[in-house]
């Protein structure tokens, strides 16, 4: 791989160094993008990603009166073959992150390195090559499939844009293979989406995501629209496919128990910022950020005996507007630990001072001035 220059990422000390590739011509870039990544190496590195949606006033002479800070400085790494879960309440910016990773939205600032290439700056053929390797599975299987196209056309459409993946004569066979892979009858190729149930439709969406043999799949709430008994089927399918095709997932969801089940690492977002990030055991069993603790304690556990034992932290109020986020720590308006310092200083996403150098699971990155461990799930 062509990699030389190293980029300094001082602001976010806990992510690995980015090896920026020096490929300049389109051919070189494409070669870099086609190169395989070893398992356990970072494949996607996100640095200080920012997306502000401008708020304008006036019709003819638009002037910007503010901005919705949907994503405001998010950094994380995705390693080859792993699943990174991103959780958070609605409006915290997790879906915007997904769109930025897909370059469906242009980032206001910040970088997304895919194999050392900053994809926010790519265009033309190089960007097309990136998009081939990063695919998406959408939330709502009812609206993300065109009702006027047959299943074969839907799954085969990516091949029209990237004809090099499957030659024309081969496509139908390839689509049938894909249907088989996701557990649908290959004979359904000529049916329309309305002839399928929700779970089956989501399988079609997954098949479409797999069509181009991508390396990364970004799943934006892939099971939240499905029934419980069908959810488990889809989750199992996704885990099976990950092993089979060596995929890396970014798994965005608001259901904390599903995220825990499927993820190797979990990032918790709040109002456009990452509040805490770590392995699933670190986040779920040793959360140090008060928001994570509140979020976990609010999850209803399907065990009536646990309802007396469990300590519940009930937050007051709602998430503030991202157009006008609180100063300092964004969670302070709902936090029971908030002090003056929280209003003045923005806490950095780093291993909290108290845990630095200690080898406890609590020593993971948490953006809180007063981070302390608290077991809220009561697993142990």
């Amino acid at each position: 791989m062509a990699e030389t220059g190293k980029k300094d990422v001082a602001a976010t000390p806990n992510v690995s160094e980015v090896h920026v590739s020096d490929a300049s011509t389109t051919q070189e870039v494409e070669a870099v993008l086609d190169a395989p990544v070893e398992r356990g190496e970072p494949i996607l590195q996100v640095r200080n990603l920012v997306k502000h949606f401008p708020l304008t006033q006036g019709i003819l002479f638009k002037k910007q009166v503010g901005a919705v800070k949907a994503v405001d400085g998010v950094s994380f790494d995705l390693y080859q073959g792993e699943t990174l879960g991103i959780v958070g309440e609605s409006g915290c910016g997790k879906s915007t992150v997904a769109k930025l990773l897909m370059t469906l939205e242009t980032a206001t600032s910040g970088e997304v390195f895919y194999k050392g290439q900053d994809i926010t700056k790519l265009s033309g053929r190089a960007l097309k090559a990136v998009r081939r390797n990063i695919q998406m599975v959408f939330q709502d299987p009812y609206t993300s499939l065109n009702p006027r196209m047959t299943v074969g056309d839907i799954i085969g459409e990516p091949f029209e844009i990237h004809p090099e993946v499957a030659p024309k004569g081969d496509r139908r066979k390839r689509v049938q293979e894909l249907l088989d892979v996701v557990g649908l009858n290959p004979e359904y190729i000529n049916r329309y989406p309305h002839q399928f149930s929700g779970g089956q439709r989501q399988r079609i969406g997954i098949a479409r995501g797999l069509a181009l043999n991508p390396e990364i799949i970004i799943c934006d709430e892939p099971v939240s629209a499905l029934d419980v008994s069908v959810q488990a089927q889809v989750i199992n399918l996704m885990e099976k496919l990950q092993d089979e095709f060596n995929l890396s997932y970014v798994f965005i969801a608001h259901d904390l128990s599903i995220v825990r089940h499927i993820s190797d690492r979990v990032g918790v977002m709040y109002l456009g910022k990452m509040a805490e990030i770590g392995t699933d055991a670190e986040i779920y069993d040793h959360p140090t950020h008060p928001y994570t603790q509140a979020l976990l304690s609010a999850v209803p556990v399907p065990d009536p005996d646990a309802r007396e034992r469990r300590e519940r932290i009930i937050l007051t109020g709602d998430v503030p507007s991202p157009a006008n986020p609180p100063s300092g720590c964004r969670f302070r308006t709902r936090c029971w630990k908030a002090q003056d310092k929280c209003a003045e200083e923005v806490p950095l996403l780093a291993v909290p001072q108290v845990f630095v150098g200690k080898s406890t699971p609590a020593a993971h990155e948490s953006a809180c001035h007063f981070a302390e461990e608290k077991d809220v799930v009561g697993a142990a």
Partner: protein, 352 residues
């Protein structure tokens, strides 16, 4: 059970009913929808009872008939295409299905109120929240606009909406999801009904807000000693608040049990499968158990036990005989109170 007169108006239907009868009893309710493709049997013989102060959770997947049952109780089914070919819905011993529309209207809202799932689409976007809350008092109690507004503010305070006085003239879109759901709850509470039906009250909400709303609902229920029917698909929410549970599948109740019992020892393979298929926060397993197949099409419900094509325990008899709701007993034959399972092999399911 005490029944207090809440309004000074003349006798209302319901209060003169049988005082010993349960608050609400649904008997052998059937609901079907006549569509172009055929008759969809949404509810096929549902029985349950709710007493004052009790929380019954009706658990089921989409299409299991849980919401249709609730709509039939409220009398807000679209008829046609809906039809109730048989069954009784007894409110304090009086069959609501045989009442006149006028009598039912007196019960609806005043005695039985409903909280809907999607607060944004259930509230009228062009009327202020205060006006919509006050409507309950204006229509049912004939209060003046001014009095109704004062009552609306009082209600908003009660469901803990901050700065109720300033916000009473706001419109639904100016409230957040959690606040809108509180307004829905306030509206249901307005006339202090005896029974509240909450249809997926927290499904559209985030977990932190869901916890707030469920807490509020439980608190108010206790305060007014109301019966509550909680319709949901979330096994976690049920475990947190319910007293007893009825699990529905393809328009039938397949299992009933007190909440602690159900989670410990399910007596129906469907319930068992559901419980095994949810990932748990406090346990990280390898592969999730998944119930194979799909929920049945209501136009073509499988013969015999509707669950048999998906059931791991299915035998020949399951495809022929419709199982009745068997009384579940211990190994030695002692009856377990309130437990029933509509499975031919409930013994094998519960006792292994």
């Amino acid at each position: 059970m005490t029944v207090t007169e809440k309004t000074a108006n003349a006798p209302e239907p319901g209060t003169d009913g049988d005082k010993k009868a349960p608050l609400l009893e649904v008997r052998d309710l059937h609901v079907e929808f006549h569509t172009r493709e055929g008759v969809a049997k949404a509810v096929n013989g549902v029985n349950y009872t709710v007493d004052a102060g009790e929380t019954l959770a009706v658990l089921g997947e989409s299409g299991s008939g849980k919401s249709v049952t609730a709509q039939a109780i409220m009398g807000i089914l679209d008829m046609p295409p809906g039809k109730i070919p048989q069954g009784q819905i007894l409110f304090r011993g009086q069959d609501m299905l045989t009442m006149s529309a006028d009598e039912r209207r007196k019960i609806r809202g005043r005695k039985i109120a409903m909280i809907f799932q999607d607060a944004l689409s259930s509230l009228n976007p062009v009327l202020s929240v205060g006006y919509q809350l006050g409507e309950m008092y204006r229509v049912h109690q004939g209060l003046s606009k001014k009095e109704a507004k004062a009552k609306a503010i009082e209600l908003m305070d009660r469901v803990r909406i901050p700065a109720a006085k300033q916000r009473v003239d706001d419109y639904p879109h100016q409230f957040s999801g959690g606040m809108r759901q509180r307004i829905m709850i306030a509206m249901a509470l307005a006339l202090e009904p005896d029974l509240i039906i909450a249809d997926e009250p927290t499904t559209a909400l985030d977990v932190t807000v869901q916890a707030q709303v469920m807490d509020l609902l439980a608190e108010l229920q206790q305060e007014y000693n109301m019966g509550l029917i909680l319709i949901t698909h979330d096994l976690g929410v049920v475990a947190d608040v319910a007293d007893k549970i009825a699990v529905m599948y393809a328009g039938r109740i397949v299992e009933t049990a007190p909440v602690h019992e159900l989670y410990k020892r399910p007596a129906h393979p469907y319930t068992k499968g559901l419980l095994d298929s949810i990932p748990r926060l406090d346990q990280k397993g390898q592969e999730l158990y998944a119930i194979k197949g799909l929920p049945p099409n209501l136009l073509r419900i499988p013969a015999g036990c509707a669950f048999n094509p998906r059931c791991p325990m299915a035998q020949e008899t399951c495809g022929v005989d419709v199982p009745v709701l068997h009384q579940v007993t211990e190994r030695d034959g002692t009856e377990l109170a309130g437990r029933g399972s509509a499975c031919h092999f409930w013994k094998e399911t519960i006792h292994g």
